[in-house]
């Protein structure tokens, strides 16, 4: 019984701030600043209307989703073969390489902000979604390798050997047999790549001229007088991709966490 109480209290604690944001997004600024109410007294869609009609906001979403998807695809594409190598073979410097990769997951983004600005300006990618997608690889690729390696180690090596004996070439075996076996793992890795790329602000702001949705939001904040309703509505909209992703992968989350590799 006390379990229920604790759990409910915790879930309410999680939901309250989000609820408050949603609540505010349906109020206009006069109501926000003048009255304190648990639900909108004069519900309005004005804030959302403004976002959907303003091309900056719309482009922001599009831009952010583009680099997030790009990043997820790149990360998975390069991490799959590498994770296979780590899970199946020993090779010169493997442990050091693995540790070096992990250190990049752990390195503070603030350290890289300025050099990334220089680097991506120098290669002419500044202000493109590719710059952000590639920059996010620094933490997502190591993460994807780590997660996938865990799943791959769970697949018995006999399966590889049997496939080679049956005359499968490595690429064919990898695509036809191995990838379907670790589909769960790929789902989990994709989820985390998506998540970390989506929630990141520093790189996406440093490497673009305020194109990503996150930086558009911060810009609105600092604009003369804060438009609370608009800010709340934009915030609510940024929750949606995350919520959708969670809903689709809810069965995988537990499995992914079960490996303890996040």
């Amino acid at each position: 019984m006390s379990r229920r109480v604790i759990l409910t209290a915790y879930l309410v604690f999680l939901m309250l701030p989000i609820y408050w944001l949603i609540n505010m997004s349906f109020k206009d600024n006069t109501e926000i600043t003048n009255t304190m109410s648990l639900f909108p007294l004069h519900p309005t869609l004005k804030n959302y209307g403004e976002i959907f009609t303003n091309v900056t906001w719309y482009r922001g979403f599009q831009f952010s989703l583009t680099y997030v998807v790009l990043n997820t695809l790149i990360s998975l594409a390069v991490a799959l073969p590498a994770a296979y190598a780590f899970s199946r073979y020993r090779f010169l410097g493997d442990k050091h390489l693995f540790f070096w990769l992990l250190t990049n997951r752990m390195a503070p983004p603030a350290v890289f902000a300025l050099p990334f600005f220089n680097l991506y300006s120098a290669v002419g990618l500044f202000d493109t979604s590719w710059a952000v997608a590639l920059a996010h690889c620094i933490f997502n690729v190591p993460l994807a390798v780590w997660i996938l390696e865990g799943f791959m180690s769970g697949v018995p090596r006999e399966i590889d050997e049997t496939a080679y004996l049956d005359g499968y070439s490595f690429p064919r075996f990898f695509v036809r047999i191995f990838i379907p076996l670790i589909a769960n793992g790929i789902g989990v890795a994709a989820f985390f790549c998506f998540m970390f790329s989506w929630v990141e602000l520093l790189f996406s702001r440093t490497l673009t001229n305020n194109q990503s949705i996150s930086s558009i939001m911060t810009r609105t904040v600092s604009a003369a007088g804060i438009d609370w309703g608009l800010l709340a509505a934009a915030g609510v909209l940024t929750l949606i991709p995350g919520a959708l992703v969670i809903w689709f992968v809810r069965d995988y989350i537990a499995k992914g966490f079960a490996l303890g590799r996040v």
Partner: protein, 303 residues
């Protein structure tokens, strides 16, 4: 069974190594280069040797004092949130249902804060904690407590800690939940048969299962809280004064705000080294925890 030695595996690792190296090595070289130089602007650099590093580690120098203070605040922040999030996360995971329709709902609600963009986390709490329009701030100040996170030290810390707990406790809880789920029902049944109390069940069955995931959870939370930037930046902007300025916020201020490249670079290197050494300690402990597990798993698998 030992993994076979095969150096051609490098071909498989190459893309990863290249893409990470592109992101890591060139920028790090730039940083190292800047860290030993000074500039008067206009891209005019001159050699400064280890001058910045001496300044940085000297508590009496302007830069050093600032850096060490930020470092101290960061360490305190990490320790405080760990001491709240870890026990709370374990507690929540123990309270979660093991099966039924409640599981999916719990997982979704709990994962939600993890998928909120970090600046939106800041925005949510910035709004939620305001005394004029936020539910939390309004309630607290109507209880007669002097609460204002923009100009009062304690309120500011309380807010960013509460925000971090809100944001990340679920990660610990989900990790622990997964660890707990990996013990089959038979273990709980056996413990009931053996007459174990709730506490004995936790000690004998649940805690051992949590060891590994907790280590990972603590590592991740320590690292991420140690380099936290966005959330406090949005909520308090590092203030009031410098009271919530961690190393990352300070670093970005120096690098992108003041364009003090030398100072920022030296700071980056020291900051990074601290994180790497901590990470290395965790990594070593972790591989040691794993090591005795491996042969046992192999044996169980063969049976």
């Amino acid at each position: 069974m030992e993994k076979p030695l095969n150096n051609r595996a490098w071909f498989l690792v190459m893309p990863v190594a290249l893409i990470v190296a592109f992101n890591a090595i060139l920028p790090l070289m730039t940083v190292v280069n800047y860290s030993v130089q000074d500039t008067f602007g206009n891209n005019q650099f001159f050699w400064n040797g280890t001058g910045w590093f001496k300044d940085l580690l000297d508590p009496n120098a302007e830069l050093g004092g600032r850096f060490l203070a930020a470092l101290g605040r960061n360490v305190s922040f990490s320790l405080i949130i760990l001491s709240i999030e870890v026990p709370l996360g374990i507690l929540v995971s123990l309270c979660m249902p093991k099966k039924g329709p409640g599981v999916a709902a719990c997982l979704v609600i709990m994962a939600l804060p993890l998928l909120v963009p970090w600046n939106v986390v800041g925005t949510i709490w910035q709004i939620f904690a305001r005394t004029d329009i936020g539910l939390l701030g309004w309630t607290v100040s109507h209880l007669g407590i002097n609460y204002n996170y923009t100009n009062e030290f304690f309120s500011a810390w309380f807010t960013i800690i509460l925000m971090d707990v809100w944001h990340w406790t679920s990660l610990i809880a989900l990790l622990c939940y997964a660890g707990l789920k990996s013990s089959p029902d038979a273990f709980y049944q056996a413990a009931r048969i053996d007459g174990a109390s709730r506490w004995s069940v936790f000690r004998a069955i649940e805690l051992p299962k949590l060891n590994r995931v907790l280590l990972i959870g603590v590592l991740l939370r320590f690292m991420d809280s140690f380099m936290i930037y966005t959330e406090p930046f949005v909520v308090t902007g590092g203030g009031p004064g410098n009271s919530t300025t961690g190393v990352s916020i300070d670093l970005v201020k120096i690098a992108l705000g003041q364009f003090d490249l030398g100072k920022a670079a030296a700071m980056s290197i020291v900051y990074n080294l601290i994180i790497l050494s901590t990470c290395w300690v965790f990594y070593t402990v972790m591989t040691n925890v794993d090591a005795p597990d491996r042969p046992r798993d192999a044996k169980d698998g063969a049976l």
